[in-house]
Symmetry: C2
Subunit: 262 residues, 2 copies
Amino acid sequence: MIISVINNKGGTGKTSTSVNLSAAFAAMGFRVLLVDLDAQANASLSLGIPYTELSPSISDVLFDGLPIRSVIRNTGITGLDLITGDLDLVNSDLLLEDISNREMTLGRSFFPVKEDYDFIICDCSPSMSLLSVNALMAADGYIVPMIPEYLSLEGLITTIGTIKRMKKGVGFNRKSIGILFTMVNLNVRSFRRRELILQSKIIKLVREHYGGNIYNTHIIRDVRLSETTSYGKSIFEFAPKSKAAVLYKRLAEEVLDRYEII
Amino acid sequence: MIISVINNKGGTGKTSTSVNLSAAFAAMGFRVLLVDLDAQANASLSLGIPYTELSPSISDVLFDGLPIRSVIRNTGITGLDLITGDLDLVNSDLLLEDISNREMTLGRSFFPVKEDYDFIICDCSPSMSLLSVNALMAADGYIVPMIPEYLSLEGLITTIGTIKRMKKGVGFNRKSIGILFTMVNLNVRSFRRRELILQSKIIKLVREHYGGNIYNTHIIRDVRLSETTSYGKSIFEFAPKSKAAVLYKRLAEEVLDRYEII
Ligand SMILES: Nc1ncnc2c1ncn2[C@@H]1O[C@H](COP(=O)(O)OP(=O)(O)OP(=O)(O)O)[C@@H](O)[C@H]1O
Ligand SMILES: Nc1ncnc2c1ncn2[C@@H]1O[C@H](COP(=O)(O)OP(=O)(O)OP(=O)(O)O)[C@@H](O)[C@H]1O
Ligand SMILES: [Mg+2]
Ligand SMILES: [Mg+2]
């Protein structure tokens, strides 16, 4: 299946989730392809690809018709392949515009390799650009990571609104959307009441409006998730015993459950 | 002068800085115009504009030639005017593409009102789109907010690289770029050593490479800066005695200093 990790709002943990969820699935024995759809190539950088080696990337497939197989790379992780992003994606609105059925360009590009993978996971950039719409249309499932804060909630509402609007009438299954709370503060003495109060308030609001679409697993704020990106490793390689690793594994199990995958 | 608050990376505190720095200048008696260049309209929402009242916005000026004066709004804050953003900005790459000298469209639109304001502050969206390039070209000064983390550092490097590349030879003054560390953890017992170590490591790296371009003021992580956005107020109205308010006022003074404004 194809899962897009998507939220218009910046810095809500999309890349961290794309990388670590992909690694969790790979560790369980699934075959995973991670596709970096961000011109900033954060997922690629987080997996240790040097800035100078981002080409060839998904841009070459989308804009120059390169066969998708030719841009798939191994990562150091067994079962996890990667297609990088690069700066050419910044022009995707213009370059995709004249293609007929342009919102389906990405989905079409996946056809030759769909059967080679159990999961294709797309890490989206923070905006509802034509490229993000392509990720939306290509996907069977959606993970929407959000920080329990007001502006992140606004991003959630517009993102989910767009998914529903673009996919309705195309056999859309409401269960396909899963909201993931990220950078959640643990209820420990070091966190002042104010943080916990705001967080609970936003989580409660989201539960009232999107009850059936929320993952029980909340990813805690843990500096290891930030550190790991500079080592080019997943959290499972960098800090396998950390709470963060346990939570991303638990999330992977919940995703399998949500999509009824045995 | 025109200042763009810019960073390709998502969620680094651009909007928080745009809003609160603008409010700080207004409180000092300057005339300020805040321009929301984000399709998500976060700055506008943070100042209490309802989602349904974002139009007319900067889109109407850029794409439909509406006179800029007709879209300027008062805010509740004396001395602070606002031009909202709205969802039409998502199409800016396509809509700006055919305009001659298209990177200068925003700058040109400011001409009729430049003399009415001491500061025009542009809140940019997280990507180096044609609209962000417009904000880059229009500006005399740049504030680049970044969280002291690896992916935020990557965003800083590419953002500053783009500013220098696009502006060189146009009488570019290297001092015009100011890096602002945001969401900095205070060295207090509640923060574990790991957070402080990573933070110091990144700050040290930035100092080595961008020594003359860093603001001494660091904006601390303070949940009040998140809370204030849901009340449609600046930090000065919401929590005037908070450390966060003191720091944004101090930043305003440093900005005046950097640009030698009396
Ligand atoms: N649970 C977490 N705890 C601590 N830091 C985290 C966590 N998740 C992500 N981070 C860090 O926070 C920053 C933002 O996260 P990330 O880059 O994954 O978000 P994003 O939504 O992909 O951002 P963008 O909108 O720019 O693509 C990164 O530096 C990342 O390493
Ligand atoms: N110093 C701070 N302490 C705590 N929370 C903060 C701070 N600065 C900003 N925030 C909150 O963190 C989130 C991200 O900040 P903000 O929206 O200002 O970043 P941004 O760079 O404008 O994001 P985007 O890339 O999506 O435009 C927001 O919910 C904001 O209210
Ligand atoms: Mg990302
Ligand atoms: Mg913003």
